[in-house]
């Protein structure tokens, strides 16, 4: 793939990197992607380096990094940077959040599954799910962070 790559239109860039066209423009607006050069008719013109950067961004988003974190990662990924430690710090923090979320969701899973099971088993004078929601306390106070 080291062929001669002519400049890409925004749609081609979008396709090549797996990101919607509108999202590319959005990333440009918020400064996540650089302003590209333009054709005579004011069309955006991209090169392979943009595909690379945008793909990096997409993968980082898929892994759940926020835009702010990705901005940091992109700085740390700049050539000349050898520092793996800062990236590790960011990643570890993110991993912590992921684990917290998994733990929260696992509790929810247990609660929901439990209520559903009671639905099937009990004679159910009142629906167990509704009963749970109406009751003053949910077992062990599930405090799920914002979805």
């Amino acid at each position: 793939m080291i062929t001669n790559m002519r400049p890409l239109t925004i749609a081609k860039l979008a396709e090549a990197s797996g990101v919607h066209m509108e999202t590319v423009r959005y990333y440009e607006r918020i400064g996540l992607m650089p302003k590209p050069s333009r054709t005579a008719s004011n069309y955006r013109s991209y090169g392979p380096e943009h595909v690379e950067r945008l793909s990096f961004i997409r993968r980082a988003r898929e892994i759940g990094f926020s835009i702010g974190e990705i901005k940091e990662l992109l700085v740390l990924a700049e050539p000349g940077r050898t520092s793996c430690t800062e990236v590790q710090t960011l990643t570890a923090a993110h991993l912590g959040k992921v684990r917290t979320k998994i733990a929260d969701l696992s509790k929810l899973e247990a609660i929901l599954a439990g209520a559903l099971e009671r639905c099937l088993v009990e004679p159910a004078p009142v629906c167990p799910v509704l009963g749970m929601l109406a009751s003053p306390r949910i077992p062990e106070s599930v405090r799920s962070r914002r979805d």
Copy 2:
């Protein structure tokens, strides 16, 4: 707690149900909470039934139901409704989403943890985390649903 409860101000209602005051007004705007009666000076005035409803809403939110789902649940929870089955359907669907999310996040966890571990083990000519983000494919294509 079957004492005589005089009307509550919005702040009291908020405190009693564990929801922010602004959120109460927001819920009123979107029709999740009914428009309460007002005092002579146009202050909102709430009774115990509002505490109950708002608490129900808070718990349902904590369990991860969306506002739309909660609206449905509230209808199903109306007195005279015996139908547990519709609630079960909603809950089962929600449980499915929770499980999907857990599965997605577990994959992410493995990926992040793996990269972090390689950070510590390898001599690391290039940071494994950044390498992963720069490489064309992420193992097994993690397609995480929107957070």
